[in-house]
């Protein structure tokens, strides 16, 4: 009897600890949601779990994923970036106009370098305005959206252009049967784990969580803010690169509706818009949720306006979800 008790006690403690730890993770809600949408999708699409369908999904997901990761870093740092879609567009038209269908390798490299630099510069403009001039993030990036879109229209007034097919084939590259998007996701997760455990990572969460406290603790809050926008600009440029590789042409409208879904992905992934919490892993889950829901809608054969409706519902759900969980928890206490 006595020994039994002794044996049982630590086990229950360990269980509750495990559950506590899991329920304490910010992306718990997102994981549950992902499981639900995966099940629904698998019901509608028979070959969902085949490598072919999976690879297709991953290639579709990659641009949104790169964009949302940049957005997540800005949001964790206490800001928001509405201009990411415009930067994607700008980089897309720059790449297309700088390359042409029969560009040499050197010209391709040059175009890519210009594209990436343009993205970083755009992020630096946002960052300088928000961090050093103390403009409102929402208003600032809303305004720069027009500027970057304007530049895109100026560079490429009507859709078109082409890129070398060798450039496009990079997107379909794989190593040991594992396709590029997987390697990129793995690399991003590794890089994020590293960054989170550096000073920068700590400063990022502190700046977003309580800027005054961070400042009092000698954290360079302004520089951290600035850097988040530069990172977001760079990630937007990478997104532009990925899109250009996958579709091979340019349009001054291509990225505009990606902004909203990047923010929704961040929120769905458990990162609060108030800043100071969340992370990149959850955001990635958020991106997968959105993409799979779109997939479901296209398989369910519903009129396209439903897609708009569902998108709206997702936004509301994403914003309400964490609050709902808190509400349920409080009830229980």
């Amino acid at each position: 009897m006595k020994t039994e008790e002794i044996a049982r006690v630590p086990r229950t403690i360990e269980w509750s600890r495990l559950i506590n730890r899991a329920s304490g993770q910010y992306y718990l809600f997102s994981l549950l949601l992902l499981a639900i949408v995966v099940v629904i999708n698998a019901q509608l699409q028979e070959n969902f779990f085949t490598p072919r369908a999976m690879n297709g999904l991953l290639r579709t997901v990659l641009p949104s994923l790169l964009l949302a990761v940049g957005q997540a870093i800005v949001v964790i740092g206490g800001g928001i970036d509405l201009s990411v879609g415009a930067i994607v567009t700008m980089v897309n038209v720059i790449l297309v106009t700088q390359m042409g269908a029969d560009a040499t390798a050197a010209e391709v490299w040059r175009a890519v370098a210009i594209g990436l630099l343009a993205g970083i510069a755009a992020g630096a403009v946002n960052g300088a305005a928000v961090a050093f001039l103390r403009f409102q993030p929402l208003v600032t990036t809303f305004a720069t959206t027009s500027i970057f879109s304007g530049i895109a229209v100026w560079v490429l007034p009507s859709p078109g252009g082409a890129v070398p097919s060798a450039f496009m084939s990079i997107y379909r590259w794989d190593l040991a049967g594992i396709i590029l998007p997987v390697w990129i996701i793995l690399f991003l997760l590794l890089a994020w784990t590293f960054v989170r455990n550096t000073k920068f990572g700590r400063f990022l969460y502190a700046s977003g969580g309580q800027p005054i406290s961070a400042y009092m603790s000698a954290v360079p809050v302004n520089w951290i803010r600035f850097t988040t926008y530069v990172i977001s600009g760079f990630m937007s440029a990478l997104t532009g690169l990925a899109i250009t590789m996958s579709i091979g042409t340019g349009s001054a409208l291509i990225g505009l509706d990606m902004t909203m879904s990047s923010i929704v992905a961040v929120v769905l992934g458990g990162t609060a818009l108030s800043g100071g919490m969340g992370g990149v892993f959850g955001t990635m889950i958020g991106v997968f949720i959105i993409t799979i829901i779109r997939n479901v809608i296209s398989f369910a054969n519903v009129p396209s306006w439903y897609q708009v409706l569902v998108n709206g519902l997702i936004v509301m759900f994403a914003l309400a979800g964490p609050g709902l969980i808190d509400l349920i928890r409080r009830r229980r206490v």
Binding site: K199, G201, R202, G209, S213, M216, G276
Partner: protein
């Protein structure tokens, strides 16, 4: 550690037109505890903020070992070994105890990674300093938002300590600590002194000051008025140093309140999260002041009486027991509340004066609203208040601070309240408007309204009130009336000793 001397000389700091510090002086040496003492608004916080680089002075100089220095940021002060313990100001709620303690000076390995385990271990060693007096279960990995206020304060102290300062400034660090925690802190301060640290200790509690101080520096109205070893400043002398010797003008000419008048509000055994065992009565036509240091529960008391804070205990209004569960219930009992922060709690800034005045009263104007009558009543109210305005339709933001405050009061007067609660209503109001405001309050009182009046301005309380309750840590620690209604007694009571304990000798 070598000896170090920090000396602040003739510091001046103005915020806009307000002079926070006109001649601040402070000197602290290694191995010494200097306590900085002063009444509300005497410039203590400003002085400590200048010394730690949070704000820049507009005049005067700082000397470190006789070398002039200036700190452009908290980081600069920190690099010179000067660190402040703030009141929960520097903790990030979502981060853990360990992350917070090392925030800004993380231990980093050569590869750029944060040395988590080492920081955790050192955090544990720091937490061990307060072992036995903190709540159980505070670990290096506990998120700060889960900590009790006292444990947060201890985390703040440990955070400052982890910087290995040469001079440490504790700004009311004991305010949220219990007796055992204070005792442990004082033992630790004793050790730090031996290690050669210089300590600046800011506190409002007289007995703490005399337990820990080697040297006392007194501020009054932004000036350092005394600085001497502790044995040269006895307790009663200290209180005198803190208050100015001016005659306090009575704004309230008509003598003491009729003590036989009907009791309008009776509070018995009132408890909330911050208030403990509050008992008092107010009579018709009485102006009852609520005093004490800032943030001792005064606002909470008024909010509770307005039904905005859950409470236990019994309230009786005009002999009838009532349950004040919401502001609406309180309004039905003819209780009105004038909040302290005009712009956020008292007014709708972009709307017109008319709308602001009528907001609590629209219900009694029918459906659709009888606009002509409403306008007439508002005009009447504006006249009674002597409101200086363009027209009733001008936005309320076009009024001066004093006139805007009259609108906040006026909107409740239209409901003719019997009990009026005022939460520091004259903050940021110019002197002229204050005078009119006082006249208005006195008139209301003479008409039989019971007024509960909290003010952070001691002179105003003494000038207006028939009686003053002094709050400390959510408890009524003294009641001043008649003979004891003096500045000396008010300050002494605020700091934790009653006038009786401090014989007044001239």
């Amino acid at each position: 550690m070598n000896g170090v001397t920090l000396s602040a000389q003739n510091l001046v700091k103005r915020y806009g037109g307000v002079v926070a510090l006109s001649d601040g002086n402070l000197e602290v040496h290694s191995g010494e505890v200097v306590t900085l003492v002063g009444a509300n608004g005497s410039g203590k916080s400003t002085l400590s903020k200048i010394v730690t680089g949070v704000v820049a002075p507009q005049g005067g100089q700082l000397l470190l070992n006789n070398q002039p220095v200036s700190f452009s940021s908290p980081l600069a002060a920190r690099q010179h070994g000067i660190v402040a313990v703030y009141q929960e100001l520097s903790l990030v709620p979502r981060m853990t105890v360990s992350e917070n303690i090392w925030l800004g000076h993380e231990l980093v390995s050569r590869s750029g990674l944060v040395r988590r385990q080492e920081m955790r271990d050192r955090t544990r060693a720091l937490l061990d300093l307060f072992q036995g007096v903190m709540n159980a279960g505070v670990e290096p990995d506990t998120p700060v938002h889960q900590l009790a206020p006292s444990d947060k304060q201890i985390a703040e102290i440990l955070k400052a300590l982890s910087l290995e300062p040469r001079i440490m400034i504790l700004d009311e660090a004991t305010a949220s600590l219990d007796t055992n925690q204070v005792k442990r802190l004082f033992e630790l301060i004793g050790e730090w002194k031996k290690q050669g640290k210089g300590i600046v200790f800011i506190s409002h509690r007289l007995d703490e000051i005399y337990r820990i101080a080697d040297h006392i520096t007194v501020l009054r109205n932004g000036k350092t008025v005394a600085s001497a070893p502790v044995n040269e400043i006895p307790r009663r002398e200290l209180v005198h140093l803190m208050i100015e010797d001016v005659e306090i003008a009575r704004h309230n000419g008509s003598g003491p309140a009729p003590m036989q008048a009907e009791v309008s509000l009776k509070v018995e055994n009132l408890n909330t999260r911050r208030l403990k065992d509050i008992n008092f009565e107010v009579r018709r036509g009485e102006l009852l002041g609520i005093g004490g240091l800032q943030g001792q529960g005064q606002s909470e008391l008024l909010l509770t009486l307005f039904g905005a804070v859950p409470y236990t205990g019994s309230l009786t209004v005009f002999g009838r027991p009532v349950q004040l569960t919401s502001p609406r219930r309180a309004m039905k009992e003819h209780i009105a509340f004038v909040p302290g922060d005009r712009s956020t709690e008292g007014l709708l800034p972009v709307r017109s004066i008319l709308e602001n005045l009528m907001l609590p009263s629209w219900r009694s104007y029918g459906f659709p609203i009888r606009m002509i009558k409403a306008r007439h009543d508002a005009q009447q109210a504006a006249q009674n208040l002597k409101l200086v305005m363009e027209s009733l339709d001008a936005p309320v933001t076009s009024l001066s601070g004093g006139n805007a405050q009259k609108v906040v009061l006026g909107k409740w007067l239209l409901r003719s309240p019997k009990i009026l609660l005022l939460d520091d209503p004259t903050k940021g109001v110019d002197v002229g408007a204050k005078g009119e405001f006082y006249k208005l309050l006195t008139e209301l009182r003479n008409q039989g309204t019971s007024i509960l009046f909290y003010s952070s301005d001691d002179e105003e309380l003494l000038g207006l009130c028939d009686r003053i309750l002094v709050l400390q840590d959510g408890q009524i620690t003294a009641e001043l009336q008649g003979e004891s209604l003096t500045h000396y007694d008010l300050v002494a009571a605020s700091m934790g000793s009653t006038g009786q304990e401090l014989p007044y000798e001239d």
